[in-house]
Symmetry: D2
Subunit: 436 residues, 4 copies
Amino acid sequence: MEFFKGIDKIEYEGSKSKNDLSFKYYNPEEVILGKKMKEHLKFAMSYWHTLTGGGMDPFGEQTIIRSWDTLNPMERAKARVKAGFEFMEKLGIEYFCFHDKDIAPEADTLEEYFKNLDEIVDEIEKEMKRTGIKLLWGTSNMFSNRRFVHGAATTCNADVFAWGAAQVKKALEITKRLNGSGYVFWGGREGYETLLNTDMGLELDNLARMLSFAKEYANEIGFIGQFYIEPKPKEPTKHQYDFDSGTVIGFLRKYNLDKDFKLNIEANHATLAGHTFQHELRVARINDMLGSVDANMGDTLLGWDTDQFPTNIYDSTLAMYEILMDGGFKEGGLNFDSKLRRASIDVEDMFFAYIAGMDTFAKGLKIAAKLYEDKVFENIIKERYSSFDTGIGKKIVNKEVGLKELSDYALGLKEIKNTSGNQEKLEMILNQYILG
Amino acid sequence: MEFFKGIDKIEYEGSKSKNDLSFKYYNPEEVILGKKMKEHLKFAMSYWHTLTGGGMDPFGEQTIIRSWDTLNPMERAKARVKAGFEFMEKLGIEYFCFHDKDIAPEADTLEEYFKNLDEIVDEIEKEMKRTGIKLLWGTSNMFSNRRFVHGAATTCNADVFAWGAAQVKKALEITKRLNGSGYVFWGGREGYETLLNTDMGLELDNLARMLSFAKEYANEIGFIGQFYIEPKPKEPTKHQYDFDSGTVIGFLRKYNLDKDFKLNIEANHATLAGHTFQHELRVARINDMLGSVDANMGDTLLGWDTDQFPTNIYDSTLAMYEILMDGGFKEGGLNFDSKLRRASIDVEDMFFAYIAGMDTFAKGLKIAAKLYEDKVFENIIKERYSSFDTGIGKKIVNKEVGLKELSDYALGLKEIKNTSGNQEKLEMILNQYILG
Amino acid sequence: MEFFKGIDKIEYEGSKSKNDLSFKYYNPEEVILGKKMKEHLKFAMSYWHTLTGGGMDPFGEQTIIRSWDTLNPMERAKARVKAGFEFMEKLGIEYFCFHDKDIAPEADTLEEYFKNLDEIVDEIEKEMKRTGIKLLWGTSNMFSNRRFVHGAATTCNADVFAWGAAQVKKALEITKRLNGSGYVFWGGREGYETLLNTDMGLELDNLARMLSFAKEYANEIGFIGQFYIEPKPKEPTKHQYDFDSGTVIGFLRKYNLDKDFKLNIEANHATLAGHTFQHELRVARINDMLGSVDANMGDTLLGWDTDQFPTNIYDSTLAMYEILMDGGFKEGGLNFDSKLRRASIDVEDMFFAYIAGMDTFAKGLKIAAKLYEDKVFENIIKERYSSFDTGIGKKIVNKEVGLKELSDYALGLKEIKNTSGNQEKLEMILNQYILG
Amino acid sequence: MEFFKGIDKIEYEGSKSKNDLSFKYYNPEEVILGKKMKEHLKFAMSYWHTLTGGGMDPFGEQTIIRSWDTLNPMERAKARVKAGFEFMEKLGIEYFCFHDKDIAPEADTLEEYFKNLDEIVDEIEKEMKRTGIKLLWGTSNMFSNRRFVHGAATTCNADVFAWGAAQVKKALEITKRLNGSGYVFWGGREGYETLLNTDMGLELDNLARMLSFAKEYANEIGFIGQFYIEPKPKEPTKHQYDFDSGTVIGFLRKYNLDKDFKLNIEANHATLAGHTFQHELRVARINDMLGSVDANMGDTLLGWDTDQFPTNIYDSTLAMYEILMDGGFKEGGLNFDSKLRRASIDVEDMFFAYIAGMDTFAKGLKIAAKLYEDKVFENIIKERYSSFDTGIGKKIVNKEVGLKELSDYALGLKEIKNTSGNQEKLEMILNQYILG
């Protein structure tokens, strides 16, 4: 059965095309810096937003209704598998990501739930074989069910912790079985609502314990994918422990988990924490923790996770720039953790939205590659910090001096001469690269 | 010479007093939980806002004019010493804090600047002896002068780094000489304006180097006070590296500085980072890094550091609660990093403002002490997390289980029963303690 | 059938009571400024949050489950009527508010839906007669159903406008039948998602048309209750047309509707627009448009409508102060548009939360009444602006001068002397009134 | 004397130029939609940021030092005139804007101040004649001086009101003398710091009085330029009365000033109020109040007015689109109310920054013109709202129906069919126009 009738494989037609169902900038086989576009970008479909989302918001019911919505739960789950793979094939997307709960219905007992999962994983496996599409990462949803009202790893209820552990175990097994190249922890309820009833110390220790347990079990079963933490500051809980890259890296260091985890950076989570997308990528990069990316965009004038499809060329350019500077993706990729606007109710909108996101990142990659090749910013930075390459600067870097020597040096200085930061010029140059 | 003529020593007159120049709640000798109020609170005057501030803002000139403003720089500096100590005596404040630049005028050369500093430190020392008032902490201002336009420890200019180092050395020596119980780093320019010209990795490494140099020099000269970092997220630079407690603790761990530094938490910096004051104190507390406090409040509907005198009873109560839970201040105290509103132009306003802040914290202490004694929240928390004291919970905490055992346990669970978080009830109880 | 077994009528027990199910400050019959507390406060139960809410959020399913949740739609609707009135009786709440959709299930056709409504309105009417409880205001939900995806009055689809009009007509008729003293428009979808596809001019004209139609129909059927607009800035749509008080008042003036509508001010909507609750009340008050109040509170560190039960004494005091200054409520009252935290899952939490809110406003009223009686702020304000009572100031106010006369006057001034704003002193005095 | 030695007239060199001191997109004589680029854009230099700014911020002293900074006040003022006109000539900018205070030093008396102003206006007039450069608008700075600590038109001190009136009178006379095509009111201190001491009603009435006085005096002296209000929400005061376009328009309507004033929209003020730049322009446009534009950009992750040079192509495109839809500028233009970053300390940075801003708007104009010509969004909007062109929709628009007829119509509807909003597609198309 074909789910997206009337929509053919989306082809690259170039920037002048008037065909809304074509790529204007994404040309998967085009070689950029010696690598194919598609290998640079490693686009992934998010199972949840794409196949289970419906446009609901806190003030309104489902607006987006798909053909599979009327089926019974297991049939619906199977239809979604087929629809998802058809969708990826038509877009030429080679990866996907999922939570356990996205792919199969929960059940009254864990046992039954796991059976449901296994049944659907069979279907997914078949489709993966048929199409060659790969699993970028798996994860477990430990935030939607009411059981996790007080958290999963950071719950006050040991039974709930155990339940979460069981889900992680199962999701890890599935991810391994499907050859997933990574596994993500996003702590949707790992935070607090009010400090008045919260033992923050115990909760954080327990969070670290859950991560250790997961890593140990992965070793046991031979899962060699990369583990990731996905930072987010303050939704749904008032305070989420994985606030931002800086916080998460500090947390991992505290519990000696920093060798075992990298970060899955989401654009909209960055802005909710008061950072740019590029900032979060940069922080991860300089700590050697840039793992994977959730590609979307937020609305910085709104205070919640809008998870919009990314269509801002500045963001995609600077993100791809950081990724290129990091040597490109290894296990990670660009997962569209993006959802259709509530009012984008047509099936075609799914395609328009992915095309918009893929084109924006493709064009961003091309611009970033040019910036990278021309060493536009790198040369400026090299020059700007060159006083640390020789003389007193070098001694500082090598810690061959202390306050005393530095003070003596400063006392001997005739004048201090700073150079301009030239921010406006740099923004102008960036614009020239973007606008052509 | 008396600077605040007509204003006598501010006395405690109780909550019914109609005398605006009296304390309504702050009764310094009153014993709370076995310790005098003044020993719990350890109020400090901030030299800068109190003695050098003038109500300027980005859109307007000085509005607050003091009698010393017409003097020449060194005379003005000396008058401020006298005025400051008179002010503290009249308020019964036993500590103060300062930046090098607050106390003496900068000069054309470092040498001259240091001479100016020494001359004023002599005056301060005399006043300290005369009054018994102590130095809570010292610091160096490495952000106002144009020299630090690109940062001090994180500058791109090695000469500027050296200059900053010289200032830190001098400020450390002064702090030691004045028996300061601590030394603070607030990195007013340690951040970036745009990533396009920034080598974040080098900048952070250099920041850590400066901190190491300071610690080493302190050891060398026998300064045994506590070192602090003061987190702040995004002012004046677009991104300040010491974003919040979580970020700073992670940074200190990365560079093995976490044993040498604690945090100086500022209320308004907490809210600018998207956190409550209590949150930042809690994070510091559970990491054993709660050092000292900058007492003020911000306006959460405004996006900049308003540094208002703290008059919110919820904030002062919950702050004092965290401090009591931490065992009270050791080297630290409550420094009023608070400035008069631009329109509070009278000399009396200085007193009103400090009285307002001191009373708010005094009343907050009394309420917090009652909450602490009654174990209001502690008992609730103990009960709430009790499932981790026995059975499977205890095994989790002791890491005697792994995913497999937890999964087996979860598969055997009949049902999961969560208890209510009772947030509204807890807020009601808190109100009862506050409102009497 | 009793829904809240084991919970008796909530009684006033005073501020020392340890009984969580008692009022500490709300003493309904106590006379304040010549009027009973309950007449000042006019508390109302919100039908939606109280009876249909379940703790859902964008990341999680229902956590709060009531006994009626398993019944079929019409039986559930009837049970809610009984439960709601039992709840109000036990709390001594004398008013309620509802949307059409809260009380009866929607149906496939409008006709059927209206029949459902009528059937439930019969039940409500009976309970109102039995208990004496009154309807504060009614409204129509024109935002949850997918039909309103592009708005109701501001939709791009004329059929949807008509549907909305039919709902308003019905809701008006119900409100009249139940003797409601008001009718509210909250435009949950009256805004836009993107300007790229929006005809803002037509949408606003149509919004005004809907309001005119409603007013005309009210006149026709003899509904004499007060009409209100409830401002909110940006949720659920990116931009809601009824942004804040200032915007709404301007809109009403533009379309000559300012005589027919007042405002229903919600605390959390105020803060989302960047204003304090008091600000919005003040703006409404000075424009003679303060109608009714949605009592809740938001979290100013979070960017969405948290609709928390109001437990902040500053907010309730200053709100009641504005209401007293406005002469007290006329047709309006204090509706608890507040919802339980997702983790407050017990039936008792409903009571705790309302008690917390009612006590906070009762105490706020008492403090505000004292401020009002003592003319604390009024005397200060009178003095502060007294230069406009005589001389040149009076001439300005009377427009007896122009720029020329004023310039001549200014040229003749020797000096300008401003007085202090004394903000910190005023905050201290406010604290004294609050803390006793 | 030449102030910008070594910098020649900036020429258009096209988008491939590597010359940082050339225009890449701004080709002043190029004809777009039948009009020259320079006539569409009407760029203006802001006297203040460009000639008097120095990179100060609340935490740091002046970093940007110009050759004229060492001169005495009147000589400095004269040098700035020369420098400003040289700067405009070299950039090909044909307009400028100023506050009284920007051009001449304040003095001890008003009389002396006015004399200073007259002396400098003579110089400006000469330069205007020499160069043909025109005055876009004038204004009076009634916020920097300490005298305005409580406001100017909204002060509590009638003498200050009078002083402000004298300044407005003088600034109006100067603006008339210099043939200014407009006069702006930006109420930098027209707001409040705390409601506790504020008579909001009187303050707003007085604000309206000042505006009336100005309009009347303009009539008297025959000044026929356009009056503008510039909205801004919350800086420097806690709440500025001219919050945003919606608020200002409502205010003007209340006082019957809406025929006499238009709006001067600033990009960064829009975002501080929680709106996009385009939103504020649109609101002004549909109310026929779009007057002039302050071109800059803010940082939506920061909470204060950063006044950055505008380099975001989305903003400039959508702004120019609204301006084209409004029929282009009449009396207004694009004033760069933008300041150099604190670290952009070179003279060249002045040029880089203006070039960046002018290029961004030039390119934005070209893209907007193409969108306008192709009726990209207009056709979509026309189709989207077409149900209001016939049938029931037309009757709604013509108010030929009421709730009763609409309800009857709705009861007869079989189903409601909404079309997709296609937001992602529209964003993709916009990207295609931008990226080429």
